[in-house]
């Protein structure tokens, strides 16, 4: 049974009326099983990030449906979709988008801001997640006092703190040097080994190959799907 079902998704952007409509995605079908690690690859402008934001309940598709855990994501009201994002999804952005005025611990606690649990419990949960990504000793530091790799791990910690069933990562190593990128990919692999479902957009074939499956997209259409596990076994 698939955890995520993307059914015939299409997306058309209209900037200045119908005349300038641009179709960025069409006929996308994709399924992600629970505990699976799937990479999405494709050239710039192929619609990768658009697909990620559609699966991420942030970008209403023009056609098709997205089901996550049997929930029709775009059948929800906008406010319920915000609740859905909080409960089901963890985002790791390419630029990390950390709050520069909050320290490491506070950044991780941010998704818990609306949670009804006590402040003490929030701190305990955030510290536990920082421990998982190896940043517990730097809980009081500001993001600009962390290295690029540490900032990446902090972004992952923030995505994990709500214990979401699905992590969505948009080129998480895109701004990092290769050594730091490897460090971040190791964190993703560890999380996946613990059962975390991950969907990752990447340009990097080496990073993509670390997933169970690679989905290729070009000009807004899926053209190839590679079972990375089978390939590496062969």
């Amino acid at each position: 049974m698939s955890f995520v079902v993307v059914n015939n998704i299409g997306k058309v952007y209209q900037s200045n009326g119908i005349d300038s409509a641009v179709r960025v995605l069409g006929g996308i079908n994709l399924e992600i099983k629970e505990g699976e690690f799937v990479s999405l690859m494709g050239p710039s402008g192929s619609g990768k990030s658009t697909l990620l934001t559609i699966i991420g309940a942030m970008n209403h598709p023009s056609d098709g449906r997205v089901l996550v855990d049997d929930i029709d994501v775009y059948g929800l009201s906008e406010e319920r979709r915000a609740d859905f994002r909080r409960e089901y999804l963890g985002f790791v952005f390419q630029q990390h988008h950390l709050m520069p005025y909050l320290n490491t611990l506070e950044n991780v606690m941010l998704p818990l801001v609306t949670s009804k649990i006590s402040g003490k419990e929030k701190r305990i949960r955030a510290l536990a997640v920082l421990q998982r990504v190896g940043l517990a000793s730097k809980a009081e530091r500001l993001p600009n006092q962390l290295s690029g790799g540490e900032q990446g791990r902090l972004a992952i910690a923030r995505a994990l703190v709500n214990e979401p069933p699905l992590i969505l990562a948009d080129e998480p190593t895109g701004t990092l040097d290769s050594k730091t990128g490897v460090e971040i990919m190791e964190v993703f692999q560890q999380l996946n080994a613990q059962g975390q479902t991950i969907f990752m957009v990447t340009h990097n074939p080496e990073n993509a190959a670390l997933a169970h499956r690679i989905v290729n997209i070009k000009d807004g259409r899926m053209f190839d799907e590679i079972d990375a596990d089978a390939e590496s076994a062969a």
Partner: protein, 186 residues
């Protein structure tokens, strides 16, 4: 012969006609006729003139305050609009991680309420200090500065109200940002 300076004669009256049936104005005219070098006026008239002057100054001060409040409101509005643009990415991240529109509005309103309260208090303190300095410098009639807690509360309440009213639109605008676009905002 030494030229006398013009005298100013002021006298008190109940404001009613006296027993002989003379009105205050008649008495003023009669004394003026007898003392052509003196400027004669009834105390009642002097007080009325002073009260009118103070009233006019009060109305002027209220008008200036109203203009200052409108300018303040416009400054808060433009600052908050700028802040929303500046923080587009941050607001996008907050929306992406699951904050509802109402929660984004609340965040901004709480922030402005805190700033407005501090601003109102600081404004009142600075106003009191400025009044005290000006009074001690210009006034020779022993006018004292009164501490009135109602004015302090009014200043904070006015600052809160103006802050809140000026932030409603920017906050609604912030809450309506598309998270997928906002996180890509450069």
């Amino acid at each position: 012969m030494r030229k006398r300076a013009e005298d100013h004669l002021v006298f008190a009256s109940t404001g009613r006609s006296n027993d002989a049936g003379y009105a205050v104005e008649d008495i003023v005219k009669q004394i003026s006729a007898q003392l052509p070098n003196a400027k004669v006026s009834a105390l009642q008239q002097s007080v009325r003139a002073r009260v009118e002057t103070v009233d006019r100054l009060t109305r002027f001060a209220v008008a200036v305050s109203a203009v200052v409040l409108v300018i303040g409101a416009l400054m808060i509005f433009t600052t908050m609009m700028g802040s929303v643009v500046e923080r587009t990415k941050e607001i996008g991240v907050l929306r992406a991680i699951g904050l509802r529109k109402r929660q984004i509005i609340n965040e901004l309103m709480i922030e402005v309420a805190a700033i407005s309260t501090i601003g109102g208090l600081v404004g009142w303190i600075v106003g009191m200090l400025a009044s005290w300095l000006i009074l001690s410098y210009f006034s020779q009639s022993g006018v004292r500065l009164e501490f009135d807690p109602k004015i302090a509360l009014g200043a904070v309440a006015a600052a809160l109200l103006i802050g809140a009213l000026s932030t409603i639109y920017p906050a609604i605008r912030a809450s309506r940002l598309d998270p997928s676009e906002a996180v890509r905002y450069v």
